[in-house]
Every structure is written in structure tokens, then in C-alpha cells.
């Protein structure tokens, strides 16, 4: 009979409508921001720079300004200038480390190519700002975050990184190999 198919479909929609009052699976909407958000432990958004000692962020940052990430970044959103000491010798530390987060696409290539485990992915969000130029250009100071923070957002990955670094310290420090072709 004509119309049976439509009626069967109506039954399905009715089931879903009334079921949504009792079954959480049928109504998975999260009332953001009142009832929390759906950001999980695994999400990645923008990169940040890791330092080890909470008292001396600039002194213990892992980045040595080798510029591999700057070269490999697909949308070219990283800008690095190496710091020089009083004699003009390179100090193996970035003087300028800028990431333009309006350009960054969160692809994690910088994390993969970094030989010093110094750049990792953050899971922060709500990065909107009224200042569309300076506000979206994150400087070294904004990007520096402690290893403790890294442990908080990605516990498993941070533990792996710590183990790798500890194993590396036993052996002599490796020279940065040429980046992947």
C-alpha cells in the first residue's frame, strides 16, 4: 500500500524522538560551554615549546634554534632567530620564536621532525582574540610551557618522551641529522 514506507520511517523518527529523553546515545549533544566540552586527551591544536625547570623557563628550554621545524613547516608559520652571546657566537637558543596561529594548521610535522623533543602539540582551544595581528602571533613567551604541563595534557606521550631523553643522556648527545627528504 502506498504510504507504508513513509509510516515505517515515521515510527523510526518517533522512536528516536521519545528515546532521546531516556537514552543518552540518541541525544549526544553537549551544551557547550555550560556543560563542559568534548575536548579529549588526544586532540592536538597548536604547538608549544617545552622547558624542563619551572623556575628557569628560558634557561631550560629544550629548543636549540636549529630551524628544522621552520624549514619543514608546510604552511611556513614558524619564524626563528638564534640568540647570540656577547662575543657574537651562537648561543643555541632562540631569540625569536614566533608562530602565527592564523597560519598554523596543527599538522604536527614540526613535532615529528624535531630531534630535541622541544616542540609538542598543545590541546588548548578558544584562541580567538579581538586583535587579529599581534594577538594571533604567538611569541616565545606565550609558547613556553613546562614539561609538567605536557605531562598533564598528554600523559602517555610525555612519559615516552622522558624515557627517550633519559636514554639519550646516557649516550653522547646526537648531532641533528639532516631533515627527512
Amino acid at each position: 500500500m502506498l504510504g507504508i514506507g513513509i509510516l515505517k520511517g515515521m515510527v523510526v523518527t518517533a522512536k528516536n524522538f521519545f528515546g532521546s529523553f531516556v537514552n543518552k546515545r540518541l541525544l549526544p549533544t553537549i551544551q557547550y560551554p555550560e556543560a563542559g566540552n568534548s575536548v579529549t586527551l588526544f586532540s592536538r591544536n597548536i604547538p608549544f615549546l617545552v622547558y624542563d625547570n619551572d623556575e628557569d623557563p628560558l634557561g631550560t628550554m629544550r629548543c636549540v634554534a636549529c630551524k628544522i621545524c621552520e624549514k619543514e613547516c608546510p604552511p611556513q608559520c614558524i619564524y626563528i632567530v638564534m640568540e647570540k652571546d656577547a662575543n657574537g657566537k651562537p648561543a643555541k637558543r632562540p631569540k625569536v620564536f614566533d608562530i602565527d596561529i592564523s597560519v598554523c594548521m596543527g599538522c604536527q610535522i614540526c613535532v615529528e621532525v624535531c630531534p630535541f623533543e622541544s616542540i609538542k602539540m598543545d590541546s588548548t582551544f578558544e584562541l580567538s582574540t579581538p586583535d587579529r595581528f599581534e594577538g594571533l602571533l604567538l611569541k616565545r613567551e606565550h609558547l613556553l610551557k613546562s614539561n609538567t604541563y605536557f605531562h598533564k595534557i598528554h600523559p602517555d606521550e610525555a612519559q615516552e618522551v622522558d624515557d627517550r631523553l633519559a636514554a639519550k643522556q646516557k649516550k653522547p648527545a646526537p648531532t641533528p641529522s639532516t631533515p627527512a627528504a
Binding site: 502506498l2 504510504g3 507504508i4 514506507g5 513513509i6 515505517k8 520511517g9 515510527v11 523510526v12 523518527t13 528516536n16 540518541l26 549526544p28 579529549t40 588526544f42 586532540s43 592536538r44 619543514e72 613547516c73 608546510p74 594548521m105 596543527g106 599538522c107 604536527q108 610535522i109 615529528e112 621532525v113 602539540m121 602517555d156 641529522s177 639532516t178 631533515p179 627527512a180 627528504a181
Partner: protein, 383 residues
């Protein structure tokens, strides 16, 4: 006050034989909601009948191929996510396959299984949302689409868990995948896959017998078998026209020869066949997923030597059966870290070439469904 009554006027009704009308040209898009993005159809209409249709695209062109020729091989992996943003996993796989073919890299066993699992999950969520969008084009505003999106969320959660991102996964690497699956992932995936047939049953009850869908889709936008072959249509559109051609069976790339699955075929090649092929393919994908999840071995997921490869001058064409059709990457290397030539064979783009042939003689409202049933993503059409 006058008490005039309004009498019905006399109207002349033309039989249509002696009526001469001009052809009306309509530019449909690029901001039309039915065109799935920034796509334009220059349609010539006789009354409501389509007499000419010219697809116009390129509004989303962003130089994908040229950018890839100026970055390293690894650097264009995240850009492949943005081709067909519904199926980033299969895009990654096709590109990784092309590079692996060119550089002669081997893939570990576990990584092959992970790739198959990811690709089939992608197929599930792409087909589910395509059917939702198609019914949205038919006028079922929202309901089936939202059910599909609700189910898709579970799959996207799995992608996020494994790769860190819901849509722009950037998960596959040359010689494997980026990282191993987190603990508990496979159990959750099994749960999602086991729950999926219940959703499919509900979806089919909702849609397949619906008289409105039957009358709007059947015998609309017929793509004849010969034309489909001649126009090199691939994917579900080709199989809906009755051609048994599935790269998973033909090419047996990856480890697809180990799984037992069937290739559903249509008989007429109309919109209803294309719609049903998607539903049937989802069932087969669930079958593959169940087999892969049961037999996935332990082991490494990446070849550490593959990280620093430098290809010899060579060329390679890697292709996979994406959810939309044959997705291929053609690469030419001149021995430098950057590809000399990088070409994408996008299924959406090539399937779109027969749009006019399918729409001629149909009503303008049916052209919308025909476009919806081809399953295009403008990120891939325009690149």
C-alpha cells in the same frame, strides 16, 4: 456602496504545441545550498526541463599540486587531508602508497591492518553522511542527515583518539602510520563497529522503502554502463551502473586480498541504485572491519628507515579505492627531496564530468539529486 461580485475570469490554456518559449539560463550557485560547496551549474531550462548544463568550478582552487611540488614529500601529507576533507585517511593512504611505490618502501604488517581499519571506517562515515546529504537534497531536511552525523561522531572520536584530529588526521606515513593505536582503541573500535549494523537497519527502515525517495530517485539521472566506462567513472557511481570494478578486488593493494567481502552492483544506474550501493557497501565495510579487528597482529607500525628516504629519479602512480572512487597520486621524482611532478586523480572531479549527460531531459529539481548522488567534495574537485 456597490455590490459588485467578483466573477472568475476566462483564462486561455495553451496546449503547449504552438507555445514558443525562450530557453531560460540560470546560474545555479556558487552559493546555492544544494551544490555542496562552491560549485556552479550554468543550466539552460526549457520550462523546468534541463536542456543544457555546464558545470563551473575552480572557486576553491588553492594550487594544491604546485604547493606539493615546492615542499618536501612529507610536507604535502597534511595538504592531502584537505583534498576530500570527509575522507582524510584514505587520501593519506593513496599518497603514502604512491611514495612507497616510488621509493620502494615496505610497510609493516600491523600498519597495513591499521590502514585497512582506518580506510573502512572512513568509508562508513563518508557513505553514511552522503546518504544523509542526499536525502537532505530530496527535501528531508535534516532528520536522516542528523542520524548519520550522530553515528559519524563515534567514528570521528576514534580518529581523534588515534591521530589527534577529527577530520584533518594526517595519520599515515611513508612506510606505515605515524603512531601506534592507543591502548583500548581496538576495543572501542570493535564496539562502534558492532553497533553500526543496528544504525544501518534503522537507516534502511527509514529510507529505502520511503515512497517519496522511490519516486524521486528511481529512473532519475540514469548513467548508462557504456558511458560510465567511457567517461572513466569510478567508485560507487560506476558500480551502480553495473560494472564490476572495485580496486580493492582488482588491484588488491595493501592486504585486501585477505578479507572476504562482496562488491555490490546496481542494474539501472539511476540515483536509487547509487543510493542503495552506498548502503550495501557499508554492510560490506562492516564485514571487512570485523575480520581486520579479529586478526590484527602485534608489531611495529612504522619503518624507521623510511623517515630519511631520498627517492631515486623515478615515477609512480599509487591508487586506492576511496569512498568516492579511484583516488590516485602520480609522482615524478628527479632525485631531489621535492617531487618534480605531483598530480592528483580526484574521483569527485572525474565523476562530475558526466553530470550533463545524466541531467539532460530531467527536471531542474532532479539535477540537484543527481549532483548529490555523485558524491562530490569541492575541496577535491577544485584542489
Amino acid at each position: 456602496m456597490s455590490t459588485e461580485t467578483i466573477a472568475p475570469r476566462e483564462y486561455q490554456i495553451y496546449s503547449g504545441d504552438d507555445l514558443r518559449t525562450n530557453v531560460l539560463e540560470i546560474s545555479m550557485g556558487p552559493q546555492h545550498p544544494s551544490t555542496h560547496g562552491v560549485f556552479r551549474m550554468d543550466v539552460s531550462l526549457d520550462g523546468e526541463t534541463v536542456v543544457k548544463l555546464k558545470p563551473v568550478f575552480g572557486y576553491l582552487h588553492r594550487n594544491h599540486e604546485k604547493i606539493a611540488e615546492t615542499t618536501s614529500y612529507l610536507g604535502s601529507m597534511p595538504y592531502t587531508d584537505r583534498l576530500d576533507y570527509f575522507c582524510s585517511m584514505t587520501n593519506n593512504w593513496a599518497y603514502a602508497l604512491a611514495v612507497e611505490k616510488m621509493a620502494g618502501l615496505a610497510v609493516p604488517e600491523r600498519a597495513e591492518y591499521i590502514r585497512v581499519i582506518m580506510a573502512e571506517l572512513t568509508r562508513l562515515q563518508n557513505h553514511a553522511s552522503l546518504v544523509g546529504f542526499l536525502t537532505n537534497d530530496l527535501g528531508a531536511s535534516g532528520t536522516p542527515l542528523l542520524y548519520a552525523i550522530r553515528e559519524r561522531e563515534h567514528i570521528l572520536d576514534l580518529f581523534e583518539w588515534a591521530s589527534g584530529a577529527r577530520m584533518m588526521c594526517n595519520y599515515m606515513r611513508f612506510g606505515g602510520v605515524r603512531n601506534d593505536l592507543p591502548s583500548g582503541w581496538l576495543a572501542q573500535c570493535k564496539k562502534v563497529v558492532d553497533d553500526f549494523p543496528a544504525f544501518m537497519d534503522e537507516f534502511e527502515t527509514l529510507l529505502t522503502g520511503n515512497e517519496i525517495i522511490l519516486s524521486r530517485c528511481q529512473n532519475v539521472g540514469v548513467l548508462p554502463r557504456d558511458l560510465a566506462i567511457n567517461a572513466s567513472i569510478t567508485g560507487p557511481c560506476l558500480r551502480a551502473s553495473g560494472v564490476d570494478y572495485d580496486l580493492r578486488k582488482v588491484d588488491k593493494y595493501g592486504i585486501y586480498d585477505r578479507f572476504d567481502f562482496k562488491v555490490p552492483l546496481g542494474s539501472v544506474g539511476d540515483c536509487y541504485d547509487r543510493f542503495m550501493i552506498r548502503l550495501l557497501e557499508m554492510r560490506e565495510s562492516v564485514k571487512i572491519l570485523k575480520q581486520a579487528l579479529a586478526t590484527i597482529p602485534e608489531g611495529p607500525v612504522n619503518d624507521s628507515k623510511a623517515r630519511n628516504f631520498r627517492p631515486k629519479p623515478a615515477e609512480a602512480y599509487g591508487r586506492i579505492e576511496g569512498p568516492k572512487g579511484e583516488l590516485g597520486f602520480y609522482l615524478v621524482s628527479d632525485g631531489t627531496p621535492k617531487p618534480h611532478r605531483y598530480h592528483v586523480r580526484p574521483p569527485s572531479f572525474i565523476n562530475l564530468t558526466v553530470l550533463e549527460d545524466m541531467c539532460l531531459g530531467q527536471k531542474i529539481a532532479d539535477a540537484v539529486i543527481v549532483l548529490g548522488s555523485i558524491d562530490i567534495v569541492l575541496g577535491e574537485v577544485d584542489r
